[in-house]
């Protein structure tokens, strides 16, 4: 599986309140959540983001609330993968459980700039920066988590679906 898109870059400690403010948590509708994605940190994000685009961020991405609405809004906005130095643990779980691709790579975060066109190969964890002509490596997932991803999320994994 591969993803390719233009990069939107953010700093450290991007919290779930700025990813999807609580005033929009009165709905679970994916498209509506997507229309407010990143609203309190980058008001124009939802209108600028294109299908396949990539979020690159610093440490502790997704800290704060357990709201699954956060990874849902990112996924539904068309973002193909989030690359960060580290993820907050509940966000990490939620992303895997709902099938939003995430990768940890300090190297990639250090070298990728906003607007770069980046390609990710999930099979070997390589991150290719087409704009700069560089390649970075992501930390591979443990096999247990890879299995959840391959089965299309946690509920498929436990219910024997797909």
């Amino acid at each position: 599986m591969k993803a390719k898109g233009r990069v939107h870059k953010f700093g450290d400690n991007v919290d779930t309140d700025v990813i999807i403010p609580a005033r929009y948590l009165n709905t679970a509708d994916h498209a509506e959540l997507a229309s407010h994605c990143m609203e309190d940190i980058d008001a124009g994000f939802a209108s600028r983001v294109n299908e396949g685009d990539i979020i690159v961020a610093g440490a502790n991405f997704g800290c704060g609330s357990s709201r699954e609405h956060a990874p849902i809004s990112i996924k539904a906005s068309g973002v193909s993968v989030v690359i960060a130095k580290t993820f907050a643990r509940i966000f990490y779980r939620n992303a895997i459980n709902i099938g939003l691709a995430i990768l940890e790579s300090e190297d990639a975060v250090a070298h990728i700039d906003a607007g770069d066109v980046v390609e990710v190969d999930f099979d070997d964890g390589s991150i290719i920066n087409h704009t700069k002509g560089e390649i970075y490596c992501a930390k591979p997932f443990p096999p247990f988590i890879q299995e959840i991803i391959e089965k299309g999320g946690l509920l498929n994994a436990i219910s024997g679906g797909e």
Partner: protein, 421 residues
């Protein structure tokens, strides 16, 4: 291999002799929790995956607390969906307007959590119950759905940071000041993926409410869970609230920790976390130039009876400063009733405060006290992220109830020891 307290609880619930940090395990759950925001997503997933029955009607709690009493039509629809699901599946511990409370104050009060339990909740502050010697942690809605269906959850066994407490708190200081100081010291990802294990001789001087407040904010340091050694106070609390038979786990003497941090409680001062991260901590005494528009005393962090008592002592015979709105939210119906019985409500109203029925409301910028552009609040809540309580340019300062109440009276942030006897 020697184990920490958390590792022992996880091993017991996984049915294995021992576990090591990094092991991926499947554990049996004693309680699965959700609220009116996270449960609808879980219910959708549960039904989409084709599950027909919950694993145990007595081991699921659904608490309508975030946008309840319903703040708008959409919120009402979400609560309705939870109500229908709970009715259909015979969920015993379903709490709605009239008998609800803020979930993390309510579950301990109802005796639904006890030492040695494993609890997951689709709310990040589920880590609160570590105060009672349980392993409890926040998860998302999909994990909640899986937990409701199977009674199990997967975990990566965490390593731990040990906090050795000694001494006792000075007057005017509380558990909130301790946990804010700790987060200020280790940072918002200082305990990422780890357990924060609290013990030592100083632990016994902390009230159970102080411990609940501290464990509540373990997530604000990125931790998987916060957990306290069980002592006489824990057991007395659980007995008083009708919790079941406790199962006490103790860390092995030679358990390995990533780090051991000594905390002298007597050195803790009233502490405030400035915008926009809980790690931006400063002594309250250094922030007297910060004028406030609003004060909120409540939440799953500090809406307990002892918090109300502290506020009532400060507001008795005093008045909220001109131009400041002060919103007080007892965390459960029981606490609300006790506040009325003890005359606290009258004190609050005489002091010019708003007193609300239990709700998470303003803490997450939901309702009941949203901030306008550039407004400043001091709040006993747990997060001060950008836009957390309202407008994206508003600011939240996190503090203890002591500091918040005194600041409401003064109109600016103030060290409570200046006013308290």
């Amino acid at each position: 291999m020697p184990m920490t307290m958390t590792q022992k609880i996880l091993a017991a619930h996984a049915g294995v002799e021992s576990v090591s940090p990094g092991d991926l395990i499947r554990v049996k759950l004693d309680m699965v929790l959700g609220n009116d925001i996270t449960s609808p997503v879980a219910i959708n997933e549960f039904e989409k995956a084709g599950f027909c029955e919950v694993f145990d009607k007595t081991k699921i709690s659904m608490v309508m607390d975030h946008f309840v009493p319903n703040k708008d039509i959409k919120a009402a629809e979400q609560a309705k969906q939870c109500r229908c699901f709970a009715g259909c599946h015979g969920i015993v511990n379903y709490f709605d307007a009239g008998d609800m409370g803020i979930e993390h104050a309510l579950l301990p009060e109802k005796g639904l959590v006890k030492p040695g339990d494993v609890v997951i909740g689709a709310d990040s502050h589920t880590c609160t119950y570590g105060a009672l010697g349980a392993f409890s942690t926040g998860v998302g809605s999909t994990d909640m759905a899986a937990g409701m269906a199977t009674g199990e959850a997967w975990f990566k066994v965490p390593s731990a940071i040990r906090f050795n407490l000694k001494g006792a708190l000075q007057p005017g200081c509380s558990g909130k000041d301790v946990i804010l100081s700790i987060i200020g010291k280790i940072g918002v990802d200082g305990a990422l993926y780890k357990s924060m294990e609290f013990g030592g001789v100083g632990l016994h001087s902390l009230s159970v409410d102080d411990r609940l407040c501290m464990a509540n904010m373990a997530i604000e340091a990125g931790a998987k869970n916060g957990i306290f050694e069980v002592d006489e106070k824990t057991l007395a609390y659980c007995k008083e609230h009708g919790a079941g038979e406790p199962c006490i786990f103790e860390a092995d003497q030679n358990a390995e920790y990533d780090e051991v941090i000594d905390i002298d409680l007597s050195e803790i001062v009233p502490t405030v976390a400035c915008p926009h991260l809980p790690e931006n901590t400063h002594p309250a005494s250094e922030l007297t130039e910060v004028k406030i528009d609003q004060c909120v005393i409540g939440s799953c962090t500090n809406g307990r009876l002892s918090d109300m008592e502290v506020a009532a002592k400060i507001f008795a015979g005093r008045h909220v400063a001109k131009g400041v709105r002060c919103i007080i939210i007892p965390a459960t119906q029981e606490i609300y009733k006790e506040c009325a019985k003890r005359g606290y409500i009258e004190i609050f109203i005489d002091a010019g405060c708003v007193v609300s029925t239990p709700t998470c409301g303003p803490c997450l910028g939901g309702h009941m006290g949203i901030l306008a552009a550039d407004e400043v609040a001091v709040a006993t809540t747990n997060r001060n992220f950008v836009g957390r309580m309202g407008h994206v340019t508003s600011k939240v300062y996190l503090s203890s109830p002591e500091t918040a109440a005194v600041s409401a009276v003064k109109g600016h942030i103030c060290d409570p020891r200046e006013v308290m006897e």
